[in-house]
Symmetry: C2
Subunit: 354 residues, 2 copies
């Protein structure tokens, strides 16, 4: 049994997203006021698999959910990037558009689809309103933002968003998007090609996580969960080791932290697997899994229909013990999002939606 | 037997560095034209151990080299930051000042000290001249630059420097310095405290390494060696795994690469150990050591006299096999820098200076 934590639905002529632009922003969008900076990096072969499509919920259910026995699929739409819209109000309007589209075009089409609430993170008060507006929809399971951002996500600027997430019981998810649109996508400068940009994406995730943990987000919002989607996973080992080591020497500089940084991570942070690192010797990855407590922290994802899709039947390293496989493929995400075991195979003793 | 790959010597009233300002830059320095931006992050307790000093070569030899039986100690002076000097010419003049000071004040004082050539990386032609000017000194073993930079170090802007390093047989070393002085020290924004900044330093190293490998520096300069000092080591595992995985799908976008990215790393890149990650379970770090081929890539360092000094008798994880310990503590650096086993314990079969 599988939960896929990263599926990308696209609008199509049959299911246009523009239909859901809030009326007061129609003219602004018609005038091109929905512009946002791009990263300047694109896969020259296109971002989607040539044999796969994700514009029709029924077809995607057949091609992905049915084919791989996926019980739930978490949708991450392009609206995760609306925070970069130059016009702050239009950006917030676009967030509403994406969420209404997600509900009508996708969530209503199949109960296995779960939604991610798009917000304009650069309008935190409005973002919090949007989370409260659509967050009670039974298939909306989290809020999602892109990796590129005005501030590191541990910055207090974002607190109204975390407050709303906590109140609605929804995790705050970060997915790659537009890294390099504001400043360079590395701490130094701009890579000159796509593969370099792509290899550097985990830097953004490391930076956001360090910020969230060390600026005390999980002390201020003790029920907040953070999901790091498509950012890689193996970097978590060195990141928690370095935070814990430095904390021992410098804890008086962060008096708001009451526990080791790694403890906040294990309790509050989950990572989706795709694109999973693939060392030559899979035991190396299994050792990292052990170090990062993959039995609690990792949630499987395919990234369908993108070029670097991970096949559920082959994604995990050779030698993954069966109990760990179950945790990663289903149970961790079921606990994170409060999802019941599907009724056909339901066991009354297992997780139920809270 | 030990080689310490990161010792920080400081000027003092007895050994002032200003004495070595090239005459044509004295007036400029007097007028304050040696200004450079700072990172805005400082350890509130100071960067140096309160019980240690590194201003007197004889005393440091007693306190560090003699005490721990260190056969060679590689000096990394503050001049590694001169690339950030606003006046490019003054920056290049300061590089000469630091190198002449290193030779007279430290290398002449004890043959166990080895020097790092400071350069103004933002004046690549002049930097190459400086490498050729002092690079033949028998105790000068590498060129060093700071992590903060105008460009990622794989950028062709720096090729004249790599050409000079290759010609002189000197590795190109990168050491943390002033991260955040130009743009923010993360891909996103500025951390609000020192511990967060310090935990993010490995991001800069990951970015530079990805750039060097994927932009083809090691194909263009097949004899170039790169040393990553004080940037942590455990992040190397996920970085090579991700580069190798992406290379398999995207190799046609980087046709200048003829081998897996990890192969360039194992042949061309060395990392100094301090500050070594310290997981709760040392087996996790030993598994990472295996993945990153620590028996070839890691070189021990103390970072004396800085606050996070690693003690040679305790730095390596519990359970490090003796042959691996020897590789990390002495042999890898001896091969990298071409250093003979000291004569008192010399074995004619072992490495000799090339």
């Amino acid at each position: 049994m599988i939960i896929d934590c990263d599926i990308h639905p696209y609008p199509s002529p049959e299911r246009p997203v523009e239909r859901y632009i809030p009326p007061e922003f129609r003219e602004a969008v018609r005038l091109g006021m929905d512009v946002a900076p791009g990263s300047g990096h694109a896969n020259p072969f296109g971002v989607n698999r040539r044999d796969a499509s994700c514009i029709d919920p029924k077809q995607t259910a057949v091609d992905l959910l049915d084919k791989y026995d996926i019980a739930y699929g978490v949708l991450v739409p392009g609206g995760m990037n609306v925070s970069l819209t130059r016009s702050i109000d239009v950006g917030s309007g676009l967030a509403r558009m994406w969420n209404d589209w997600t509900i009508e075009a996708w969530l209503n089409a199949d109960p296995r689809y779960l939604g991610s609430i798009c917000i304009n993170a650069n309008d935190p008060a409005n973002a919090a309103k949007e989370i409260r507006r659509v967050g009670s929809h039974p298939q909306m399971v989290q809020t999602v933002v892109c990796g590129e951002a005005e501030h590191l996500y541990g910055h207090r600027y974002y607190h109204p968003i975390f407050e709303a997430c906590e109140e609605m019981g929804l995790p705050f998810a970060i997915h790659p998007g537009r890294e390099g649109a504001y400043d360079s996508p590395t701490p130094i400068g701009r890579p000159s090609n796509y593969i370099e940009w792509h290899c550097a994406l985990p830097l953004t995730f490391q930076a956001h996580l360090i910020s969230l943990v060390l600026e005390g987000a999980f002390e201020k919002f003790p029920k907040l969960k953070v999901v790091l989607i498509e950012g890689g996973v193996a970097w978590l080992a060195h990141t928690i080791w370095r935070m814990d080591k430095n904390f021992k020497a410098l804890r008086s500089t962060v008096p708001w932290l009451k526990r080791l940084p790694s403890e906040y991570v294990f309790d509050h942070v989950r990572l989706s697997t795709q694109p999973l690192e693939e060392p030559e010797d899979s035991d190396h990855l299994l050792a990292v899994f052990d170090a990062i407590r993959a039995d609690r922290t990792l949630c499987f994802a395919t990234d369908f229909p993108h070029w670097d899709f991970d096949d559920p039947t082959r994604a995990l390293p050779r030698g993954t013990p069966e109990p760990l496989r179950k945790r990663i493929m289903f149970e961790n995400a079921a606990e994170l999002y409060g999802l019941p075991v599907p009724s056909a195979v339901a066991d009354p003793e297992t997780t139920t939606r809270v």
